[in-house]
C-alpha cells in the first residue's frame, strides 16, 4: 500500500514517468485545491486551470528539484505563484479582487468565541471575513493553520522574510476580528 515518497516520484517524473505524476496529483490535489479555493475566491474554472498549470510546472521542473526545500513547500511555492499569476490575469480582464484596503481600526478587536449555539453563524461570518482579506493575508493563514507549515516554510512559499510572515499572520488575525466586529455592529444596528 505504499505511496512512493515524493522525492522518488519526482525522480521518476524527471525521467518522464507519467504515472508518477499522476500519483503525485492524486496525493496532493485535495490539499492544493483547498488552498487554491480560498486563493481564487472559489472560482472553479480558475482553480482547475491553476491545478493544471501547477502539475504541468512540476512535470517540467521535477529535474530541477534539488531537495533544498521540503517537497510540500516546493509544491506550494509553485501553486502560490500560479495563483498569483491567475489573479493578476483575471484582474487585467477586469474581474475584481476583494480586499480590505486599510488596517483595521484600533480598538475594534473583540473576542471571537461566543456561545456554542452561535457556532454555525459565527463560522459563516468568519468565512465571509476570511474572503474579504487580501489574498496575501488569506494565504498566510491558510499555510499556517490549514496546511501546517512552519514560519520558515511559509516564508519560503511566499517568497518573503520570516518576519513578514509573522507580521502578516498577526495582521490577518486583527483584520479578521475587525471584519467580524463590523459585521456584529451592523447586525446590532439592524436589530435595534
Amino acid at each position: 500500500m505504499t505511496t512512493p515518497e515524493p522525492t522518488l516520484l519526482l525522480r521518476r517524473i524527471a525521467d518522464g514517468d507519467e504515472e508518477a505524476l499522476r500519483q503525485l496529483y492524486v496525493e496532493y490535489r485535495p490539499r492544493l485545491r483547498r488552498y487554491l479555493w480560498h486563493q481564487l475566491d472559489g472560482d472553479g474554472l480558475a482553480i482547475e486551470e491553476a491545478l493544471q498549470d501547477t502539475f504541468l510546472a512540476v512535470w517540467r521542473s521535477a529535474g530541477g528539484y534539488r531537495g533544498e526545500a521540503k517537497f510540500a513547500t516546493w509544491l506550494f511555492q509553485i501553486a502560490h505563484y500560479v495563483a498569483l499569476r491567475t489573479r493578476k490575469a483575471s484582474a487585467q480582464r477586469g474581474r475584481s479582487e476583494t480586499e480590505i484596503a486599510s488596517d483595521p481600526p484600533e480598538g475594534a478587536v473583540i473576542p471571537m468565541a461566543a456561545s456554542p449555539e452561535d457556532t454555525v453563524l459565527e463560522q459563516l461570518a468568519f468565512d465571509e471575513a476570511l474572503s474579504r482579506l487580501t489574498p496575501k493575508h488569506r494565504a498566510v493563514l491558510q499555510l499556517v493553520f490549514q496546511q501546517g507549515f512552519s514560519a520558515e516554510e511559509a516564508a519560503q512559499i511566499l517568497g518573503v522574510p520570516v518576519g513578514t510572515v509573522k507580521s502578516r499572520v498577526s495582521y490577518a488575525r486583527r483584520a479578521l476580528q475587525s471584519a467580524l466586529a463590523c459585521r456584529l455592529s451592523e447586525e446590532a444596528r439592524h436589530d435595534a
Partner: protein, 552 residues
C-alpha cells in the same frame, strides 16, 4: 520593558505553538512563559479560535468533481511537454491512490519513442476508463492452467505437532531462495518455524511475458518457493487462519493489447478476475470466486478457518451523477462463511470512496479504512459489528489526516494511521468510543519540528506491541527519513531502521511477528544508483533489522 519585549517575541510564535510546529525547546520555553503571562494566555485563546475557524472554513468547499477531467487535460498536454526517457509500464495499474500496492521497481520504457505520438489519445484515468469498457472480452483462461499446487514443503503430514518438534528458527539465521524477478507483497507467520509469503514473478523487461503467482514457504529456517508458479496470475495478499488453513489472493491477469494512437499494442497487464487459493490438507487449491470482471483481490483477512474477508478493487473509473463526473474506486467486499465467498454489502460506500486497508480479528466483525475525496476531510473508517456499519469520517478521527492503514486488536482497541493530521499526529487510536491522536516519543530533538510522518503500514501484534512504518521529510539538511515506530506498552517509540548500516529504503510493509522479539517484513532499497528499488525479505531480531540472506 523586558516583559513586554518577551511578550512580543512569544506572541509572534503563538500561531505555530497552536499548530504544534515549534521545536521541543521553543515549545517548552513558550509554556514556561504562558504559565506566567496572562496577556499571552489571552492571545493564545484568540489564536486557537482562529485556528479552529480556519479548519472549519474548508468544510464549506464543495465536493471535488473535476479531478479526473483536469487530470485528463494534464495528461493530454504531457506528450507535448517532455521527452520521456523512462516510463513505468507495468507499474501503471499497480500504484494508484496508494492502495495496498507496494511495487516500486521502474522499468525502461520499451515504447518511449511512441509516447509523443500518443498525446492525442486520452491517457491515464480516462483511457483506463475506456479500457475498462474494452475489457468485455475477458479471456477465459483454462482452469486447468491454474492446476493444483502441491505444497513442496506443505505435505499433508505437516501440522502443529510436527512444527513444534523443529528447533525454533531465529529470523536472523534464515535464508531465502527466490527466483529472478520475484516480488513479494505479503507475508504471514505461524510461529517461529512456519511462514508463508505471496507475490508475483514478473519480468519487467519483457512487457508481454505473463506474470506468475508465487508462494514462498518457510521451512527448516529457509524460505523457498512451493509448487510451480501459476502463469497469468498475480498474488497480492495472504492470510493464514492456522498453520493448516489459509488463503492467498490476487487476480488472474490478461494482456491488454488495445492499439494506441500509433497502432502499437498497449501491452499492459490488467486484472481480469479476482483469484484465490485455499491452503487446506497440506496443499494449495484454486477456489472459484463470484465474478467481478476487471477486479483484483487486494487483501484477505481470515478470522478463522470458517470465516474471513476479502477486499476487491477494480480500479478507478469515471462516474457521472446528475451531470457531474467524478472518480469512483470500485471496491467490493467478500465474506467467507460456510465454505463460500459471497458479496457483502457496504451500505456506507459511495462510488467516490476508496478503501485502502482492512483488518478483522473477531467473528462477524471487520474494519475498513480509506478516503473519500468528496469530503473536505477525506479520511473514512468503517466498522461492521453487530449486523450494521458504523462510519467515522473526517474530524471524527483527526482533522486533516488521510488514513492509509488500520490494525485491530479488539473492537475497543484499534489503531489507524496515515498522513499527519493538522495537529501533526499520524497515529490514531480508537478505544470503542472515540478516536484520539497518539504522540511519538524519542523523536530526535533536531527533527521534532519536521516530524510529520506518513505511515503506510501499521501492524499491531498484541495490545501492547506493534509497528508503524513510514517516512517523513526533514530539513537542515533536506532528506527523507524512514521510520519504524515501535509501540511498546502504551507508548510509540521513534526508530530509524537500518540494514547493514544503511537506512532501509522502505517504507517497510507487511510485518509478521514470530516471537515478541522477532519477525519478518518486506522492504525496498534503492539499486542502480537510485533508478530502481528492489524488494527484499527482511528479518527483525531483537532490535536489529536485516535482509534475509539469499541462497543461490
Amino acid at each position: 520593558m523586558t516583559p513586554d519585549l518577551s511578550c512580543e517575541r512569544h506572541q509572534d510564535s503563538l500561531p505555530w505553538y497552536v499548530t504544534n510546529s515549534l521545536s521541543d525547546g521553543e515549545r517548552a520555553e513558550m509554556e514556561r512563559h504562558l504559565a506566567s503571562c496572562e496577556r499571552c494566555r489571552a492571545a493564545l485563546d484568540e489564536w486557537r479560535d482562529v485556528a479552529a475557524a480556519m479548519r472549519r472554513a474548508d468544510e464549506n468547499i464543495p465536493p471535488d468533481t473535476a479531478s479526473l477531467t483536469t487530470w485528463a487535460r494534464i495528461a493530454h498536454q504531457l506528450g507535448a511537454q517532455a521527452e520521456p526517457a523512462y516510463k513505468s509500464s507495468k507499474v501503471n495499474e499497480r500504484n494508484i491512490m496508494g492502495l495496498k500496492d507496494r511495487i516500486v521497481r521502474l522499468v525502461p520504457n520499451t515504447r518511449a519513442t511512441t509516447e509523443a505520438a500518443e498525446g492525442a489519445r486520452p491517457r491515464g484515468p480516462l483511457r483506463r476508463a475506456m479500457d475498462v469498457v474494452a475489457v468485455v472480452a475477458v479471456i477465459a483462461l483454462s482452469v486447468g492452467v491454474f492446476g493444483f499446487l502441491a505444497g513442496r514443503g506443505g505435505g499433508s503430514s505437516r501440522g502443529k505437532d510436527a512444527v513444534a518438534a523443529q528447533p525454533a528458527c531465529a529470523t536472523s539465521k534464515a535464508t531465502v531462495s527466490l527466483p529472478a524477478n520475484a516480488s513479494l507483497l505479503a507475508i504471514a507467520a505461524e510461529g517461529a518455524n512456519d511462514g508463508w509469503a505471496a507475490g508475483t514473478i514478473w519480468d519487467d523487461k519483457s512487457p508481454t511475458s505473463p506474470p506468475a503467482a508465487l508462494l514462498v514457504h518457510l521451512r527448516n529456517c529457509h524460505w523457498a518457493p512451493v509448487g510451480t508458479p501459476i502463469p497469468n496470475v498475480q498474488l497480492t495478499d495472504i492470510s493464514m487462519a492456522s498453520p493448516d488453513d489459509g488463503w492467498a489472493v490476487g487476480a488472474t491477469m490478461k494482456l491488454d493489447t488495445t492499439p494506441m494512437a500509433d497502432g502499437a499494442p498497449r501491452n499492459a497487464w490488467e486484472p481480469s478476475q479476482p483469484f484465490a487459493l485455499h491452503y487446506t490438507h497440506g496443499s494449495w487449491q484454486q477456489v472459484n470466486l463470484p465474478s467481478y470482471p476487471g477486479a483484483k483481490a487486494m487483501q484477505v483477512k481470515m478470522v478463522s478457518a470458517n470465516e474471513g474477508w476479502m477486499l476487491l478493487y477494480s480500479g478507478k473509473r469515471l462516474i457521472t451523477t446528475n451531470g457531474d463526473t467524478s472518480v469512483g474506486y470500485g471496491n467490493a467486499l467478500l465474506h467467507y462463511q460456510n465454505g463460500t465467498w459471497a458479496n457483502f454489502p457496504m451500505s456506507f460506500l459511495k462510488p467516490s470512496t476508496g478503501l485502502a486497508d482492512m483488518d478483522a480479528r473477531q467473528p462477524g466483525e471487520v474494519w475498513l479504512a480509506g478516503f473519500d475525496n468528496t469530503y473536505s476531510q477525506p479520511n473514512i473508517v468503517a466498522h461492521y459489528i453487530g449486523g450494521k456499519w458504523t462510519t467515522y469520517i473526517g474530524t471524527a478521527i483527526a482533522a486533516g489526516a488521510n488514513i492509509q492503514t488500520i490494525s485491530e486488536i479488539s473492537p475497543t482497541d484499534v489503531w489507524a494511521a496515515g498522513s499527519a493530521s493538522s495537529s501533526g499526529s499520524s497515529l490514531y487510536h480508537f478505544d470503542g468510543a472515540r478516536w484520539s491522536a497518539a504522540k511519538v516519543q524519542g523523536v530526535p530533538k533536531k527533527e521534532a519540528a519536521y516530524f510529520r510522518p506518513f505511515i503506510n503500514t501499521i501492524v499491531m501484534t498484541s495490545p501492547t506491541q506493534g509497528w508503524a512504518f513510514g517516512f517523513y521529510m526533514s530539513l537542515k539538511p533536506t532528506r527523507t527519513i524512514r521510520v519504524a515506530l515501535r509501540y511498546d506498552h502504551g507508548a510509540w517509540q521513534y526508530t530509524e531502521p537500518q540494514i547493514h548500516g544503511t537506512t532501509i529504503y522502505a517504507p517497510l510493509s507487511a510485518f509478521a511477528q514470530t516471537t515478541p522479539s522477532q519477525g519478518w517484513a518486506l522492504g525496498d532499497h534503492l539499486i542502480d544508483n537510485g533508478a530502481n528499488a528492489e524488494r527484499v525479505l527482511l528479518y527483525y531480531d531483537a532490535g536489529v533489522w536485516g535482509a534475509v540472506r539469499q541462497q543461490s
